[in-house]
C-alpha cells in the first residue's frame, strides 16, 4: 500500500466523520468543528494530489499547496464568522440551538425595521 493510498483513506475517513457530525449533531459548535474536520480531509486530498504530481508530471506539484493555503484561510474565516454568530446568538437568546427550523412566526410581529 503506497503512502498516497494511506493518506487518501485518512482523508476519506475525516470527510466521512465530518459529514456525519455536521448532518446529525444538533449543536452548532459541533457542526462548526465537523465542518473543519471535512475541511481537513479535503486539504489532505489536495496534499495527496500535489504529492502525486499529477498536474505538472514532475515529482511534486506546488499548485495544490498554494490552493490548500488559500483554502485554509477561507476555512479559518468561515469558522471565525460562525463562532462570532454563535457567540452573538448565545448573548441574545441565552441558548444556541438550531432545533426549531420553523420560519413561521405566525401571529407575532418581529421587531420592525
Amino acid at each position: 500500500m503506497s503512502s498516497a493510498t494511506v493518506f487518501g483513506m485518512c482523508a476519506a475517513a475525516l470527510i466521512g466523520l465530518g459529514l456525519y457530525g455536521l448532518i446529525t449533531n444538533p449543536q452548532p459548535l459541533r457542526k462548526i468543528l465537523a465542518f473543519n474536520l471535512i475541511g481537513s480531509g479535503v486539504f489532505l486530498l489536495f496534499g495527496i494530489v500535489g504529492r502525486r504530481g499529477a498536474g505538472a508530471s514532475v515529482g511534486n506539484d506546488p499548485v495544490p499547496q498554494a490552493l490548500v493555503i488559500t483554502g485554509v484561510v477561507v476555512a479559518f474565516s468561515a469558522t471565525a464568522l460562525a463562532i462570532a454568530l454563535l457567540l452573538r446568538l448565545f448573548d441574545t437568546a441565552g441558548s444556541t440551538t438550531l432545533g426549531n427550523p420553523a420560519p413561521t412566526c405566525l401571529h407575532s410581529d418581529s421587531p420592525g425595521d
Binding site: T24, T70, L85, D109, P111, D113
Partner: protein
C-alpha cells in the same frame, strides 16, 4: 508545463474585467479607512463608477469577438489565472449593477449613519459593496478555484446581511444559512480537488478540452453540482432560505433573493455548460429539472398558505429557483450534449428577470412593512389607497414574474417552450405553464387583499419615503420591459424573438395562465376572501366546497412535508442522496 493549445492572450479591453472586481473591493477598504460617517458617500461614489465599468464591458464585448480575456500577470493557464467574460457574463453583470443601484437608492434613507446605532448602516454598505465584488468575480472568473473563493466571499458577505437586525431569530437564520452554505462549498471544493488530481488544471477552458468520463470525474461533477444546489437552495436543500430571506431587512432581502442565489446558479451553469457539457447526459438533466418541478410545486403551495407577506415572497423565490432548473434537459441536443443555445439563453434571461422582479417585490413589501408596522396578508386590506406606489410596484413586479408580455420572464418562457417543442419533452411545457399559474396565484392573493375596500380607514404607522416606492417601481418596470431589449448581441436568441411576444397565441396563453392562477387561489389559499362573502361567492363555494377542502388538506400535507424537509437531518440525507443519485445517473450515461 506548456499548455496543450495556443494560450489565449489578454484582449484589448480585458483590463475592464479587473476593474469590475477591483473597484468595489477598493471601496470596501476605503470605507474601513474613512469610517462610519463616510461609508454612505463612498458607496454612492462607487455605484455609478461600477455601473459605468459594466456598461463599458458590454460595449467592448461585441468589438472583441464576443469574449474578453485578461491573464493576470500575463501567465497563461494552467499555471496562470484568467478572467474571461462572454455574453452570459455581461447579462448577469448588468443585472447585478441595476439591482445594486436600485437597492442603494432604496437604502439611502434607511441606512443613514446615525449616532444611535452606527453599526448596522456601516455593515450594510460595506457588505453591499463586498457582495458586488464577489458576484462580479463569479461572473468573470474562469478558474474553478477562483470561483470557489468568490463563492465563499459571497457567502461571507451575505450571511451578516441576514442578521443585520440582530434579533435571536435572525441570528439563528444566519447561522443556519452559514453552516449549510459551508457544507455546500466544502463539497464543491472536494470536487475541485478531485478534478485537479485527474487533469492537473482548474482552468475552465483547458478542462473542457481535456475532460473525459471516468469514475473520479463523474464523482467530482456530482459533488460540485450538489454543493452548488445546496448554495442555490434548490428543493429539497432549501432549509436555510425561508427564514434567512424573510428575516433580513427589505433592502438586504432584495439582494439575497435577487442576486446572491444567482451566484451559485451561475457557477453551476459554467460547470455544466462550459466544463462538462458531454458528461451529465439525459437522466441527470431530467433529475435536476424534476427537483426544479418539485420546488415549483412545494414552494408555490407553501407560499399560498403563508400568513406573512415577506415569507410569501421568500417562498416564491424558492419556487422561482425551481423554474431556473427547467432549462437543463431542454438544452440537450440529439447526442445528449448540453448546448449553450437557446435554452441556456432562456435560463439566464429568467435569472435576470427574476433578479429585478423579486428585488422590486421585496422593496415594495419593505415599504408596506414600514407603513403598516406589520406584514400580515389579512391585515393589508386597502393598503393600495394608502401606499399606491408600493402596491403598484409589487403588482408590476408580480406581473413581470408571471410572464406577462413583454417582460423578461415571458421571453424566457417563450424560448424554453420552443425548446420543449423542438426536443419533444412536452412534460416540461406542462411544468412551465403550471409554474406560471402558481406565480399568478400568489401574486393574485396579495393583490386582491391590497386592492380590497378597507373596513376602516388605514392609519399608517410611518409614511415611507416617496423615493423608496419610486425605486421599487423603477425596478419592476425594468423587469417588465426586459423582453424588449435587443438581447441577440449577448445571448444566442434569434433576432426579433421579442416581436413574437405580441400576438393571438400569446394572449391565449396569458388568459389560460390567469384563469388557472385564479382557480388555484380559490382552491388552495386558506385566507378569507376580501370584501366579505358575496352571494355569488357563496354559490360557488357550495359547488366546489368539498373539492376545496381536499385541496386545502393537500396543502397542509405539503406544508408538513416542507417542515420535515427543513430539518437538518432530512436536509443532510437529501444532500447525500442527491450526490449519489447524480453520480449514478451520470455514470449510467457514460
Amino acid at each position: 508545463m506548456l499548455p496543450s493549445a495556443p494560450a489565449p492572450a489578454t484582449t484589448a479591453s480585458g483590463f475592464l474585467l479587473v476593474l469590475s472586481i477591483v473597484v468595489p473591493v477598493a471601496a470596501v477598504l476605503l470605507a474601513f479607512a474613512l469610517g462610519d460617517r463616510r461609508v454612505r458617500q463612498v458607496a454612492f461614489a462607487v455605484v455609478p463608477i461600477g455601473s459605468a465599468i459594466v456598461v463599458a464591458v458590454g460595449l467592448a464585448l461585441p468589438a472583441g469577438d464576443g469574449v474578453l480575456v485578461y491573464l493576470l500577470g500575463a501567465w497563461p493557464a494552467p499555471l496562470g489565472v484568467a478572467l474571461r467574460a462572454d455574453g452570459f457574463s455581461v447579462v448577469m453583470l448588468a443585472t447585478t449593477a441595476i439591482v445594486i443601484c436600485a437597492v442603494a437608492l432604496f437604502a439611502a434613507t434607511e441606512f443613514r449613519p446615525s449616532a444611535a446605532d452606527a453599526r448596522a448602516p456601516f455593515a450594510f454598505w460595506v457588505l453591499l459593496l463586498a457582495i458586488w465584488a464577489a458576484l462580479n468575480t463569479i461572473f468573470v472568473g474562469s478558474d474553478l478555484f477562483t470561483l470557489y473563493v468568490a463563492l465563499e466571499l459571497l457567502t461571507f458577505a451575505a450571511v451578516p446581511l441576514v442578521s443585520l437586525r440582530g434579533g435571536a431569530e435572525t441570528l439563528q437564520a444566519a447561522l443556519r444559512y452559514l453552516l449549510f452554505a459551508l457544507l455546500g462549498s466544502i463539497l464543491y471544493l472536494m470536487g475541485t480537488a478531485l478534478l485537479y488530481g485527474v487533469y492537473g488544471t482548474l482552468d475552465i477552458e483547458l478542462l473542457s478540452r481535456r475532460l473525459s468520463g471516468g469514475v473520479v470525474t463523474l464523482l467530482a461533477a456530482a459533488l460540485m453540482t450538489t454543493g452548488l444546489l445546496a448554495k442555490t437552495a434548490l428543493f429539497p436543500l432549501h432549509l436555510w432560505l425561508p427564514p434567512a430571506h424573510a428575516g433580513a431587512p427589505a433592502a438586504a432581502s432584495a439582494i439575497l433573493s435577487g442576486l446572491v442565489v444567482k451566484g451559485s446558479f451561475f457557477i453551476l451553469l459554467r460547470l455544466w455548460f462550459n466544463v462538462l457539457p458531454d458528461l451529465p447526459g439525459y437522466a441527470a438533466a431530467q433529475f435536476l429539472a424534476a427537483l426544479g418541478a418539485g420546488a415549483i410545486l412545494v414552494g408555490s403551495i407553501v407560499a399560498l398558505r403563508q400568513e406573512r407577506l415577506k415569507l410569501l415572497v421568500a417562498y416564491s423565490t424558492l419556487a422561482q429557483i425551481g423554474y431556473l432548473f427547467l432549462m437543463f434537459p431542454l438544452a440537450l441536443d440529439s447526442s445528449g450534449r448540453l448546448e449553450s443555445g437557446q435554452a441556456l439563453a432562456g435560463g439566464v434571461l429568467q435569472a435576470a428577470s427574476h433578479a429585478t422582479a423579486k428585488a422590486a417585490m421585496f422593496l415594495a413589501v419593505g415599504s408596506i412593512y414600514v407603513g403598516l408596522g406589520h406584514d400580515r396578508i389579512t391585515g393589508i386590506r386597502g393598503v393600495a389607497r394608502a401606499l399606491p406606489l408600493s402596491v403598484t410596484a409589487f403588482g408590476l413586479g408580480g406581473i413581470a414574474l408571471m410572464g406577462v408580455q413583454p417582460s423578461g420572464a415571458s421571453l424566457a418562457k417563450e424560448l424554453l417552450l420552443e425548446e420543449t417543442a423542438r426536443t419533444g419533452q412536452w412534460w416540461w411545457a406542462v411544468v412551465l405553464h403550471t409554474g406560471g399559474m402558481f406565480t399568478t396565484a400568489y401574486v393574485l392573493v396579495v393583490l386582491s387583499h391590497a386592492l380590497a375596500r378597507p373596513d376602516q380607514s388605514i392609519v399608517l404607522v410611518r409614511t415611507p419615503r416617496r423615493s423608496s416606492g419610486l425605486t421599487a417601481l423603477a425596478l419592476a418596470l425594468c423587469s417588465l420591459l426586459l423582453g424588449l431589449v435587443p438581447w441577440d448581441t449577448f445571448l444566442p436568441i434569434p433576432p426579433g424573438a421579442a416581436s413574437n411576444l405580441f400576438g393571438f397565441g400569446g394572449l391565449v396563453k396569458l388568459g389560460v395562465t390567469m384563469l388557472g392562477g385564479g382557480a388555484l387561489v380559490i382552491l388552495l389559499s386558506p385566507w378569507p376572501r376580501p370584501g366579505g362573502l358575496s352571494a355569488g361567492w357563496k354559490t360557488l363555494m357550495s359547488i366546489i366546497g368539498p373539492f376545496r377542502r381536499v385541496c386545502l388538506g393537500f396543502g397542509s400535507l405539503v406544508e408538513w412535508g416542507d417542515d420535515v424537509l427543513r430539518q437538518w437531518s432530512s436536509a443532510g440525507i437529501s444532500l447525500l442522496l442527491c450526490t449519489l443519485l447524480l453520480a449514478a445517473l451520470m455514470f449510467g450515461a457514460n
